[in-house]
Amino acid sequence: MAQLCLGIATSHLAHIVNARELGEPAQVVAFDAGYNRLARALADAGPDVALIISAEHVNKFFIDNMPAFCIGMFDAFSGPVEAKTRNFGIPYHQVRSDYAFARYLVESGLDEGVDWAVSENWELDHGFMVPLSRLDPDGNCRMVPVFINCAAPPLPSPRRCYAVGRWLAKAIERWDGGRRVAIIATGGLSHSVGSAQQGYIDPEFDRRFLDHFCAGRGEMLAALSDQEIAATGASSGEIRSWIMLAGAFAGRTAERVMYEPIKGFDTGCAQALIV
């Protein structure tokens, strides 16, 4: 029986590694301090493997074949894909993964109604690679990437993301070997990339979302509608990763590590920890 030992949630924007000067210095310091806090928690927990759940920004997944959810099934992946064509602030590099664990989740899901798509060759983008560069810079932990379609509607509903998170917890607990598993969710909170709203942040929504998340009221997050989320920004749908994490730790409270609406980063930046 494996143990779900840690939950981490963080915004994943790349400004923190390649456009730091655009942020208000005190807010950037708070964001850095939050990353340091999360990285220490990950190191202290010492998981054997972690799931990292994120949106993807139409770099790999396109509307010719768009899954709602996908697991990377391999022993290593590379990224950020953006660093192949320009200076991105972190180098293109390889991260260790865990084929056997990913395959276990896929096989269990296919048998139990969570019909994962699978990728065995995936260059990850900043949604995964930026947080990893701050949370586990030495690559001590194997990471299994989990994709949620948050970019090309129709999107999986918050309720479905929550249910998949609930299922993940049960599947992880059944996994043999007595290993320790962490889950990292990245993305959000309110922001709009590439839309007429770009630059708009909705701190009121973000704080309400964080209140529910940290109080263990995941059901309230699962009840959010597509329209409610979309009204806070074209890219706010990335909070689906947080909702999946809330499902995995259903009812558990979380520590609010930081929240800063960083105007220069165009994003309500947030971090939380479930220990």
């Binding site: 010719d64 990339v193 590439g194 770009q198």
Partner: protein
């Protein structure tokens, strides 16, 4: 682009930008968009919005926001100028 139109109202115009962004010489191709677009089956209003470029019109035509932004960046424009460019193109 190979094959016939899929009938999806947004597929081809998204495909153009997705394909373009994956070319190693994408920025050079942007300088001659007419040639690049010749390989795609597009409606006249889609072609016009891409050639303009008409940023808000691209969104109206169903281009995913991430791809609108990527197309903007491929034009060598500064990220912080995007909101004003969108507003000006309304």
């Amino acid at each position: 682009m190979s094959g016939l139109s899929t009938g999806s109202p947004r597929y081809a115009i998204n495909r153009v930008i997705f394909d373009l962004s994956r070319q190693p010489n994408a920025r050079a191709l942007v300088a001659d968009k007419e040639s690049f677009l010749a390989g795609y089956e597009l409606r006249p209003e889609e072609r016009q919005a891409l050639l303009g470029p008409e940023w808000s019109r691209l969104l109206e035509l169903g281009v995913l926001p991430n791809l609108v932004y990527r197309y903007y960046m491929l034009h060598g424009l500064a990220p912080e100028t995007f909101p004003a460019a969108i507003a000006a193109s309304h």
